[in-house]
Symmetry: C2
Subunit: 152 residues, 2 copies
Amino acid sequence: MRLTTKGRYAVTAMLDIALHRNRGPISVMDIAERQGISAAYLEQLLAKLKKGGLLVSVRGPGGGYQLDRALAEITVSSIITAVGDGVDATRCHGTGDCQDGDRCLTHELWSDLSGEIDGFLSGISLADLVGRKEVQHVASRQDQRLIHARHL
Amino acid sequence: MRLTTKGRYAVTAMLDIALHRNRGPISVMDIAERQGISAAYLEQLLAKLKKGGLLVSVRGPGGGYQLDRALAEITVSSIITAVGDGVDATRCHGTGDCQDGDRCLTHELWSDLSGEIDGFLSGISLADLVGRKEVQHVASRQDQRLIHARHL
DNA sequence: GCTATACCCGACCAAATCGGTCTACTTTCC
DNA sequence: GGAAAGTAGACCGATTTGGTCGGGTATAGC
């Protein structure tokens, strides 16, 4: 099971774009500042998300990234997968040849777990997250802080 | 979320010991051969499991490791935790200060996910695993192979 | 057509982690 | 006493992570 900052950053960035979707394209810099993520690093992740068909980019001044699908059609699972942080918990990546061509003692356990996790994350879309009170609260705080910081 | 070979090996080893519990103490070498795990590495994991109160060891010839609790009282979750592969998916380890003392946008999501995974793994004990047909099948295959190998 | 903005892309890097080895014990049974 | 077995910890090579840097290229607006 690999769920590292890569996956977390990706979901965070997607959610940030979702929350500000009515402002037109969102620049990497904006997301990076609001979410406290290195801009150069974030670029790599957004590139993968674009390659995965979750985002489109607009070049030039005023450009940035936009969602390529409806909020409800983008699941957390798909974001994590797109960026390479697999949800798979087995050692053999599901093939079943964990021990010299045969299944290992615990193959089914990890396989079941993978299903469980994927089921959970597939059931949560950006639309769900955007609708959460707690998320909206954090988002408005971040917006305020960014405006404040840019006034200096 | 950290679920690496460490956690997988630990669960595999514990299950191996559980399956052969009627044979007295199980040596590291036996487990290593049956499960295809490096004995030297396995030692480290078993030491942690012992420190965590899941195993007891018997030194000297004929010694090895034994479970320190009833099968039903040892959950997969507790095994993974004992070797250090935390089930926690948040960046802040549950404290909630993911971004300059406040919660990040996705704190709740990862927190929920952690709960989900932990709930799943806490619900599975060694007794459950030992009772599974597939597990028994793989175990008997491993036993046969070991006997065969030692005849050479 | 310049220029500032912003995405694009690939090389590179330091630190951490992982899976594992090796050595040198100590304890216990025969 | 010697062999079997656990104990402890230093060490190691490979990979991954998280991130930087530097140079592109496209494009909007003047």
